[in-house]
């Protein structure tokens, strides 16, 4: 019998009930549906343009289980290819990264230039006349588009334009990218780790202001010992929750631990005090006091549905995660930094990344523990539903669960075949309607 995804969520705003059936995190059948209805349909993050700067630079990366690679052609254009020889299938790109004018398949030595054209076939005369080398170039995913340096792919040829898909998340990507004068770049090195939990639990965890104080006690003790006044954490998560449409959402909170752009705290060292003040003044000049304050004083965890997280706080973490099994995901995290950032400030940014967001840090390992613990708890089975109604009766704040509901509503829309859905809480929808 086909599994009916319509029974996975109870969303009853009148009674303040929002529950997710825990089989959403444990069922292989649901994972297969997610592959078909989400990962084969939506825009998916692949890379940042700065990861291949020079002609011929390439990197390989899996997206939704599919091996891809991206390469900057001799013409300066970034292209994305399915990592498979058009001849008999072998992986073309067998290094994680490198630089090449020509990529040669080791199996039968077919050669492709860095724009994907098939330029060499040993003993080509052995093929019949119908063989057309011009049609045998490397294949790209059906859709590739980028926004402000972030490159996305889609395996759905009919998918809407990326700009439309991003909806309200665009403003927030702007807010992050505009912090740099000369654009952002990915810092060399990545954090690659696995978590024995369903991928959606990391979506929840990354948007969840409610867990921060109880789970990350040791982290706050640490930054407190460095002279950061953490008393503000009691109210830092009181800002209104923000839902951005199409399943995207952002959790914003006061940047009480400081921000490289541009709110000084002891985490950034005396040596960077003036530099941060200068960056801040520059933002005020360029964007005005109000927008500069939003950029520089507030920190944010942005979800670009379904699985890209950009955490713009004491550093800027770009995090992507892919389901491998219902109870296993692979995570990769990078650091985004302005190209022009001074060495001293970059060093502090990286320091902040690794003390919180890195897998060797003082916080992220506890998040890993928390969601693995949830996954382990599901095995008890007797409790069928997870409770996500926090803040449903009020204008939800960052430490409520509205951002999580927004994700789940869109997820449910996709799984149940409805497609795009309204993701806000109805009370907020009503208020928005009144305001109009």
């Amino acid at each position: 019998m086909m599994f009916d995804p319509r029974n996975l969520i109870i969303d009853n705003p009148n009674e303040g009930v929002f529950r997710v059936h825990r089989s959403a995190m444990t069922s292989l059948e649901i994972l297969q549906m997610e592959q078909e209805r989400i990962f084969n349909q939506c825009w998916l993050y692949l890379c940042h343009e700065s990861e291949v700067e020079e002609p011929g630079d390439y990197r390989r990366r899996n997206v939704a289980g599919r091996p891809l690679f991206f390469i900057r052609g001799s013409d300066g254009k970034l292209r994305v290819f399915l990592n498979t020889c058009t001849h008999r299938g072998a992986l073309i790109c067998r290094h994680d990264h490198g630089r090449a004018d020509v990529l040669q398949c080791f199996y039968h030595a077919w050669s492709f230039n860095n724009q994907g054209d098939l330029v060499g076939v040993p003993d080509e005369a052995g093929y019949p006349d119908s063989f057309d080398r011009a049609k045998m170039g490397l294949k790209s995913p059906p859709r590739v588009e980028s926004y402000r340096g972030f490159v996305f792919v889609s395996f759905n040829p009919q998918v809407e334009e990326l700009m439309t898909y991003l909806a309200g998340a665009r403003d927030y990507l702007d807010l992050i990218v505009d912090q740099a004068e000369k654009g952002m770049r990915i810092v060399p090195g990545s954090n690659r780790y696995s978590i024995k939990a369903n991928w959606k639990l990391l979506v929840e965890n990354s948007l969840d202001g409610y867990h921060v104080r109880p789970t990350h006690k040791t982290y706050f003790e640490y930054v407190n010992s460095l002279g950061v006044n953490t008393s503000g954490v009691q109210t830092a998560f009181s800002r209104p929750a923000v839902v951005l449409g199409n399943g995207h959402a952002v959790e914003e909170h006061d940047g009480i631990r400081g921000r490289p752009i541009a709110r000084w705290s002891p985490l950034f060292g005396e040596e960077n005090k003036e530099e941060i003040a200068a960056i801040r003044a520059g933002l005020v000049r360029k964007f005005g006091e109000q927008k500069a304050r939003h950029m520089a004083d507030i920190s944010r965890n942005l979800l670009v549905y379904p699985n890209l997280l950009i955490i713009d706080s004491i550093d800027i973490t770009v995090r992507i995660f892919w389901p491998i099994a219902p109870d296993l995901m692979d995570v990769t995290a990078w650091q985004l930094a302005p190209r022009e950032e001074k060495r001293e400030l970059l060093a502090r940014r990286l320091d902040n990344f690794l003390t919180f967001h890195g897998p060797g840090g003082f916080a992220t390992p506890d998040d890993v523990e928390a969601i693995e613990s949830c996954q382990a708890g599901y095995k008890a089975e007797g409790v069928e539903w997870s409770e996500l109604s926090r803040g449903m009766h009020r204008q939800a704040i960052a430490e409520d669960e509205l951002q999580l509901r927004a994700f789940w509503r869109q997820w449910f829309g996709h799984l149940s075949g409805v497609g795009k859905v309204e993701t806000n809480d109805p009370v907020i929808r009503q208020k928005a309607a009144l305001a109009r």
């Binding site: 810092v187 990545s190 954090n191 696995s194 040791t218």
Partner: protein, 170 residues
């Protein structure tokens, strides 16, 4: 037949090896026993502990992403966290067993630069996964005792696949 002085050198090299290996085993024993304060005391006041990422083993923490880059302030905080019941990834703490081999010793400016291979098994909540890699210890003599000035643990794994974190001290 070697002359007396080279025999003497060989003997002192063997003594040095014995001393350095004993030091590494002692360090491993302290970590496996979670005697972390005693382990901290093995460092010089300006000691450092570094773990590069799996994809950039030569990473420079000033400009590249690494997993761990601790000065003594942060290393002490790491130890405090590992001893706390709020350090959830290691509470309850895992059982570990460290195997160290292939020890090579170089003398540089009077310091000993020691490379070795490690296999660190971590057992917890049904999980049993090893960290595999190599250490580089820079050891200094301070008041006649060996101290760790710089300690780098480089992982050979392509990713922290099974581990999800580097929650113990490698």
């Amino acid at each position: 037949m070697p002359d007396k002085s080279s025999a003497g050198n060989a003997a002192s090299a063997l003594t040095l090896r014995a001393v350095v290996e004993e030091f590494l085993y002692h360090e491993a024993a302290l970590l496996d026993a979670w005697r972390l304060d005693e382990w901290l005391a093995l460092f010089t006041a300006d000691g450092r502990y570094l773990v590069p990422t799996t994809d950039l083993p030569d990473g420079d923490p000033q400009k590249d992403l690494v997993f761990i880059d601790d000065d003594m302030v942060r290393l002490r905080a790491r130890v405090e966290r590992l001893k706390s019941r709020h350090g959830h990834r290691e509470y309850p703490s895992s059982r570990t067993r460290r195997f160290i081999s292939n020890v090579r010793i170089k003398v540089e400016d009077g310091d000993f630069v020691v490379t070795s291979s490690f296999l660190v098994y971590r057992f917890r909540l049904g999980e049993a996964s090893p960290y595999v890699g190599w250490y580089e210890h820079t050891l200094k003599r301070v008041d006649g005792e060996l101290k760790i000035h710089h300690r780098k643990a480089v992982l050979d794994q392509e990713a922290l696949s099974e581990h999800g974190a580097v929650s113990i001290i490698l």
